[in-house]
Amino acid sequence: MTYKIISEKCDLCACCVALCESDAVRIGKNSAYILQDECISCKKCFVVCPISAIKEIIDETPIRYFGTKDNEN
């Protein structure tokens, strides 16, 4: 699961920053933003936002299976 800030909605209150243990959330010029490499997906920023300006992105990368019947010798 990853989290992304909807910049048009963000009001720069900094609740998300105040909670972030991994220092992944920062305040930019017009919006907060999340450094995905630092994010530990704890979800606290998503829960705390007073106007729900953070969205949850479910990773939908398809999982490939190897060694199916068709691939067997």
């Binding site: 209150c13 609740c15 105040a18 972030c20 220092d23 920062r26 829960v47 705390v48 007073p50």
Partner: protein, 393 residues
Amino acid sequence: MKIKNFYDIVVVGSGPAGGMTAMTASRKGASVLILERDREVGIPVRCAEGISLTSLIKFFEPDKKWISKYIEGAKLYAPNGEAVLMPSSAIGKGVILKREIFDAHICNIAVENGAEIITNADVFDLIKKNGKICGVKFRHFNKEKIVRTNLVIGADGPESRIGRLAGLKTFSQISDIEPSAQYVLTNLKIEHKFSHFYFGKKIAPGGYAWIFPKGENIANVGIGVRADKCNGKNAKEFLDEFVSRNLPNAKMISFITGCVPTGMTLKKITADNIMLVGDAARQVNPVSGGGLSNVLLAGKIAGNVAADAVKMNDFSNKFLKKYHKIWMKEKGNQQKLLHKLKEIFFDFSDEKLNDLTTHLNQIPSEKLTQFQLLKTAIREKPSLVKELIRYYL
């Protein structure tokens, strides 16, 4: 606008905490630079703007230029709508400020005493030499600039970026942050002599809603909640429900969100060459979420110690820790008790709050003091006594 290469003290943030620190330190002869990220001091106003008159006059002579309204008491509303009035004769008068002018007033005094301010200055890094903080880097109209200093004071709000850059642990638990939302509303028919506070798990879980009159028919109407008790609803949704239920004819003037730290002061608010003050240090009253009187005091203490550090040329943590010690003695230890009380009080069921209010209404209002409130709360939750004993011992 030209700035010097070096200042004794650089204060990051021009809110009441930063402004008060700068004002105090500059009055004692230190050279001070205030760096403010926004384009103007005092804006945006992320605050309900209420402060007790007793607290205010410890620091400033009241001036109608930055006062919206004097308040004659507080009305506390239980979940069932029953209200108890705590008049000013019992709890003292209150004041609703015009924060945009008040903050500028404090900074003006700092400037009159030699401090300088730059707005549109976004501090993004600390300068370190041999591991020691010796300046800050900031962006000013897209140009990167540096300024050197012996002491950086982080008054940059709950974000507390300066603290993090300095390696201090500044993040809060979700139970110690109240996400808040506030409208300025007009076209109101309210008792504008009083501040109004509304409690209840369906109204404001883990917090309360407020109506702070700024005039006869205009008010700050806001809410603070505990996000982990909200079952997926956000603060604005609770506020909108509150407004449509209680103030259906209100007209909106503005809307803003905020972050109210309701935990205890951070374990470390100083390090070599650095101090944190205000929301950045988590110096807010945990029960009321009120920060103004606390951060003005914290700013005064910080400013005094900072100026002394300049005089002694000693910016070590060993010296600067004095600020933390004095703060804890004046308010920080009381804050610990209030933090515990917060946990207990906001855990009361709606039924208990209704009972509490009914009981308080049996006491004549002129005799209703904070002590009576506490006595009644103890009746409902005797374990409160343990916490009080722990505090006073």
